[in-house]
Symmetry: C4
Subunit: 245 residues, 4 copies
């Protein structure tokens, strides 16, 4: 089996594993369970980890140029190997976004808007969850509940930034920076989509005029051709009339 066909088959199971991971991780962070529940959740997370590990190993094994693939996909190893980068496994959810892609239809702007809404929702939620997980126990931290974390994420991604909540750890700030950049991207996409729609709507009339101009030219040409046809005929008549004489 080639690497590509494995990736095609593994795409959806891995997206499912990422969703399961998101659910279990959310329960862990928000619910902070004790006893049996904590053990169950931890077990599920370990199983998901094994799934990702197996996927990594199979893809490495199936790679045409193993060494080159290893070096180019060093980030995948880090995501699998380092527990700290666990949340990055959620990048698998991009598979879901690719499906939204199809929902958005053929129109470029429709797809873009669907992507943006999907990305913003996932990015905000995951950022809030991870920042809460990291900051909660930190002395001097102010993001200590899921409500506060979501509120902070909204104020950050819209670039409002009240400053009533903000991360204080390095990892929390790195996530916040990703969220800020996401916010600038959102502003950009919203504005650009609107601008493109406006430009097109206004330009539609202009194009219609240019096309009607082309149409007029073609009508004129048709007349010219008709006249030429008459000429040729009359010429032939002349010639044929003359020949017998």
């Amino acid at each position: 089996m080639s690497q590509a066909s494995w990736e095609a088959r593994a795409e959806w199971p891995l997206a499912g594993a990422a969703i399961l991971f998101l659910v279990v991780y959310s329960m862990q962070v928000i619910g902070q369970p004790n006893g049996t529940w904590a053990v169950i959740l931890l077990t599920v997370i370990w199983i998901i980890w094994v799934v990702f590990l197996v996927d990594y190993a199979v893809r490495l094994y199936l790679a045409e140029h193993r060494r080159r693939w290893f070096i180019r996909n060093i980030h995948e190893l880090l995501i699998v190997a380092l527990p700290m980068l666990r949340p990055l496994r959620l990048l698998r959810l991009i598979t879901l976004l690719r499906t939204l892609h199809k929902v958005g239809g053929h129109a470029l702007r429709g797809r873009l808007v669907t992507y943006v809404i999907g990305s913003v929702a996932i990015l905000s939620y995951v950022a809030a969850l991870t920042v809460l997980d990291i900051e909660r126990m930190e002395p001097g931290a102010n993001i200590t509940s899921m409500g506060d974390a979501l509120w902070w994420a909204m104020a950050t991604i819209t670039t409002v930034g009240y400053g009533d909540f903000y991360p204080v750890t390095i990892v929390g700030r790195l996530i916040a920076t990703a969220l800020m950049i996401g916010g600038i991207a959102v502003l950009g996409v919203v504005t650009a989509t609107l601008a493109s729609w406006l430009v097109e709507s206004v330009a539609a009339e202009t194009t219609a005029e240019v096309e009607s101009g082309d149409q007029a030219l073609q009508n004129e040409l048709a007349e010219v051709k008709e006249q030429l046809r008459l000429l040729l005929e009359s010429n032939r008549t002349t010639t044929s009339e003359k020949t017998p004489s």
Copy 2:
């Protein structure tokens, strides 16, 4: 009577009821009246509620596929049934915006600008009012007067976000999120309208050139046609001269 004709007839009375609701709700929140006044305002709010309830019931009764209409318009039931969602009745004010629509004229950008100014004004005022109503009594809240609430709304919708005032309750934060998204929309519409205007202004010259090119082509074609006409005539003359000979 069909549902559509009821909706057409009920549109303006309901917009009127929404305006009345806005006025009475404002008086309640800002004035915090006691005694007789409080009773009068409460009575008016109850009457407006009955109006919205009747409208909902009639539309449900007139619906072609009642069950389907019921499921699709579940949000309308919630707005009528839950006192907490009362401010959403102000969505009826969109009817007014649709009138502004006509004020803005035929031009797409003109209408867009009118929509934005209208929406921003209504959104900011309603958000300030509702947040004040919800936050005021909350322990630890800092938005406790209409002046502060309006100031907070302005700092939020422009994405400045000083952080001197911010909501602390869940409902208040949901309203704030709506306001932030409104702010991004405002930024987007302002920028896009400007960009579209600039692109069009710059493109106007380009189009003029293309059109003058078309004009030149048409002039050439006209000359060609004239020459052909001469040819045909001269040909016919030749033929006719020859025929008698």
Copy 3:
């Protein structure tokens, strides 16, 4: 003398008076002078006021339809009559912007950029000055020096809004709101100018192609015309040759 010719003549003296007002007002607010200096500055401000009052009176006198002019220009009366609205006299500085207009050259975007830089500089400085004047004596105010006021103005017009300084009075907040709206306008103009420039640069190639297409058509038509000319000549030769025979 007509109202229009008075306005043309009074334009520059009034802009000069506005600049003088800005200088004197700045000295008053920043320097907070005592004794003789305070008296001199106050006298100059009173003289400037008389200049604006005379201008208002003359324009009212020269108006064709005095009542209509009075109603339509009620804001001018308020600016002259209410000392609180004194800073609005600086709106006369728009005359200066109109000159910048000429500096920016014929290009639409060049002019726009010049306008924006000029407006931002004037708006920020005037807002900082006025807010300082209004807030300074207020209990609980935090904008108490010109440096802080300018810093606050920069953080506001760029929509950063740290929240280390913010106005606390109603008038101060109204000025801040104007500054925020100015900030959104700046963002919009900067982005729109860049977008328009990019769209045009990319479109330039497309237009070049369309024009080369037109050129090709014209070349073809020229050939067609040449052939027709030959035809006509050969036809005439035929006819003339035939006529003598």
Copy 4:
């Protein structure tokens, strides 16, 4: 040797000196070394200063109109002469950006994006470094570690502005203002690039239609030319047939 050829030769050594300055300055500010290390770093900074001084002197000497060059490049003298403006020597790093230019390829938007990412990275880092250097010892300052300074720079350039950190000195605030303006530029470029790409993608279809219209016209013209050729030939045949008769 002319001034231009000196500048061409000195460009890369000076960029190297600027990078070295950045490294040494970073070590000085972040590491705050004592003893031998402090002396070494200081020595290197003095040597770099001499390099910049020599470059300035040589360019002044080689200038065609020395007085004019001196007046027009007064800012270069200030950067060399005033220790406070030392960080501005990093402007030499623009040479590096010009190289990124080439990396971005021929496409206008590709180059723009490369410029923006490069500028943002350098601007944020240098601003954080300089603000930390200036603020650290100030009483009442809150930016006292490189982590905090970088975090503050990110919150500022994205216009989020939490307000958990902010400069309190005049120089620090001037740098912050530069960073804010940089942030607005970033927002503008991101949005404009997206908008231009969207407009072009949507316009590509329109252009294709216009071009197919031109193509149709050219096909018609080709037919016309063919018919004319036939006419001319038949005419010549007629004439030649007639001549012998």
